[in-house]
């Protein structure tokens, strides 16, 4: 970590920063943040806790405890479709749309990586 002085709106601002694996970690104004250039990672956004409608993906690496739906099942918004365990805690993943399950790719005990699609739902009116 090194100290840098940046000029922001004509004022000197002290920033502590370090680049780790291509990402810039910096501490400014009492908060630590991460910056990565957008172009490089624009296509990698789907690895985040999924906001894609109908895709229920693992928000973190972990183990599947139970999948509560099968292909063809009808699910509602907010209905728990999967429970998984990570870091000793159980997490419930809910469907973010109403519709029919078109894929349920995992079973109890399976390991999943972050961003991996666990259940896919097709919108009911689609």
């Amino acid at each position: 970590m090194k100290t840098y002085w940046l000029e922001i709106d004509g004022r000197p601002v002290k920033v502590l920063a370090e680049k780790l694996a291509g990402k810039l970690w910096y501490h400014m104004d009492g908060e630590t943040r991460v910056y990565e250039p957008e172009s490089k990672y624009a296509s990698g956004k789907s690895s985040r806790a999924s906001a894609t409608p109908g895709v229920i993906a693992a928000p973190m690496p972990g183990k599947i405890i139970k999948v509560f739906c099968e292909q063809g099942d009808f699910v509602k918004v907010g209905q728990v479709v999967v429970t998984m365990e990570a870091m000793k805690m159980e997490y419930s993943l809910e469907s973010n749309i109403e519709g029919v399950v078109t894929a349920a790719n995992f079973k109890s005990g399976d390991q999943v990586a972050v961003g991996q699609e666990i259940v896919k739902v097709e919108a009911a009116d689609g």
């Binding site: 922001i8 680049k19 972990g62 159980e90």
Partner: protein
């Protein structure tokens, strides 16, 4: 009486470091019993000796009684300190220590048995005249019986792993249709975390504070009470911020709760550090559980009482009495924040990875309990708590202000932490007024924290900085290596 020459530590992270420091100050050698990935931790570097007791999975390492005992015995340890979590409240482990000729640093296996099973604990408290919450603690664990009892207790109620501590295996049921799923989940978590699927049920108090009393039974049989801690700031039943003393107790209530806590300790012939947890709603308090071990949040008690609980544990296990006053004098106010490796802007999902540089802003009344250093890896195998920050100041408002300042100065690179959430909590009027209940987080922080981000000129400055920090320089991590470049290692390398 006995003087230990070597103490084995059956734990990891910051608590292992805490125990090693206490042993060093007492002139006792340390032996760290660790899992495979934990050879890259502060405790591993500090211990006099280390033994690997198994792979990452806790059931094969930190929860494996045989390999812990065997490693400690074969390396000549006189005693084992279990820390907290893992085997710390496992009576079979305490007995196995004794059978192998080593001292278990903690209460007797009978005490652990008594309190470890929440059901027999409640029975003891009831007999000692302590107040308990309505619930079901029976042996009949059939689904039909549990469902029937849930209907009797009413909603909301909770189902909880009988062998559990903290929030493991605990589910809140607000309506009958949730009951079946909650029981199943609780049994499952209990089985995987503690090897027992026994559960119990109880009424859920919805505006209660979590108040716990620190008790300590010394070698002469005396039971001390070192005041209370308030741990109402909890999320998913895991504590986030703790403090001593509680802003909610007056002298009268403190005396009442102290009396009950000491009575419970005496009834059990309790030896060592223990915590009697209560829920306090209005002026009514109910026994929750007794933890027969050191607590994560023990430092706040140490700071307001002027004691060292870990050294006291070790001394007690050696048969020495403590020299405390029966009525402790409390001094100032202490707060603890638990630092979790998680992303507060993404619903608190765990953040794992290689730790980069860190900065801990030391100063008067600031204590940092840290288990990792730059270059160490935060994995998803264990609890996401990577450090604790504890502050002391003359009053509660000053302690809050100090903690806020310390959190703003603390820098951790490489994994995201809950520091932004901690600061928001410290700023919340319900917290500063001291009125928070165990519902505080759920009520005020149930949604993910909103990141207001940077303004345009800040963004431009950071983009410029990205180019400047560039690809060279001694602070650069390359993605695949697991250690920070160490200048000493590098100069050795160039000589070869």
């Amino acid at each position: 009486m006995q003087n230990f020459k070597k103490v084995a530590i059956a734990n990891r992270g910051e608590v292992a470091v805490r125990i090693i420091r206490a042993c060093q100050e007492l002139g006792i050698k340390t032996l760290l019993l660790h899992s495979e990935p934990d050879s890259k931790t502060v405790a591993w570097r500090m211990a006099d000796e280390t033994v690997c007791i198994g792979p990452a999975t806790t059931i094969e390492s930190y929860l494996n009684i045989e390999s812990n005992i065997e490693a400690a015995r074969s390396h000549g340890a006189d005693a084992i300190h279990p820390g907290f979590g893992f085997l710390s409240e496992n009576a079979a482990f305490a007995r196995a220590c004794e059978d192998a000729g080593m001292v278990f640093i903690g209460p007797s296996s009978q005490s652990i048995d008594l309190f470890g099973d929440k059901i027999s604990a409640k029975n003891l408290v009831e007999k000692a005249g302590g107040p308990v919450i309505p619930g079901y603690q029976g042996e009949d664990q059939s689904e039909a019986t549990l469902l029937e009892k849930i209907a009797e207790i009413g909603f909301p109620c909770i189902v909880k792993a009988a062998a559990g501590g903290g929030g493991r295996g605990l589910k809140v049921i607000t309506a009958m249709e949730e009951a079946k799923g909650a029981i199943e989940a609780s049994k499952r978590e209990g089985l995987s975390a503690f090897g027992s699927d026994k559960v119990f049920l109880e009424k859920y108090l919805d505006a209660a504070k979590h108040i716990e009393l620190q008790i300590f039974g010394d070698a002469s049989g005396e039971v001390f009470c070192l005041g209370e801690r308030e741990c109402s700031v909890q999320r998913r039943h895991q504590k986030i911020i703790e403090e001593a003393l509680s802003p909610a107790l007056d002298e009268k209530l403190r005396r009442e709760m102290t009396d009950v806590a000491v009575k419970i300790g005496k009834a059990a012939n309790y030896r060592g550090a223990g915590t009697v947890e209560f829920l306090l709603q209005g002026q009514e308090f109910y026994f929750l559980e007794m933890n027969t071990r050191l607590q994560v949040e023990h430092p706040v008690t140490e700071l307001v009482c002027g004691v060292d609980l870990v050294k006291a544990q070790i001394n007690t296990a050696q048969g020495h009495s403590v020299s405390w006053a029966q009525q402790p004098t409390f001094h100032g106010h202490s707060l603890e924040c638990r630092l979790y490796a998680e992303d507060p802007y993404q619903m608190g999902i765990p953040s794992t990875g290689l730790l980069g540089s860190c900065h801990w802003p030391h100063g008067p009344g600031r204590r940092f309990e840290v288990g990792f250093e730059p270059g160490d890896e935060v994995t998803s195998f264990y609890d996401p708590m990577i450090a604790k920050i504890i502050v002391w100041d003359e009053s509660r408002p000053r302690a809050i202000r100090k903690m806020r300042q310390v959190l703003r100065e603390t820098v951790i690179f490489g994994v995201k932490t809950n520091i932004p959430l901690l600061i928001e909590i410290l700023d919340h009027p319900e917290f500063t007024s001291g009125e928070m209940t165990t519902k505080f987080i759920e009520k005020n922080f149930s949604k993910t924290l909103i990141d207001y981000g940077l303004d345009d000129s800040q963004k431009r400055a950071v983009q410029g900085l990205y180019q400047r920090v560039g690809d060279s320089g001694p602070n650069e991590f390359s993605g695949s290596t697991s250690f920070l470049p160490n200048p000493f290692l590098q100069s050795w390398g160039s000589r070869r």
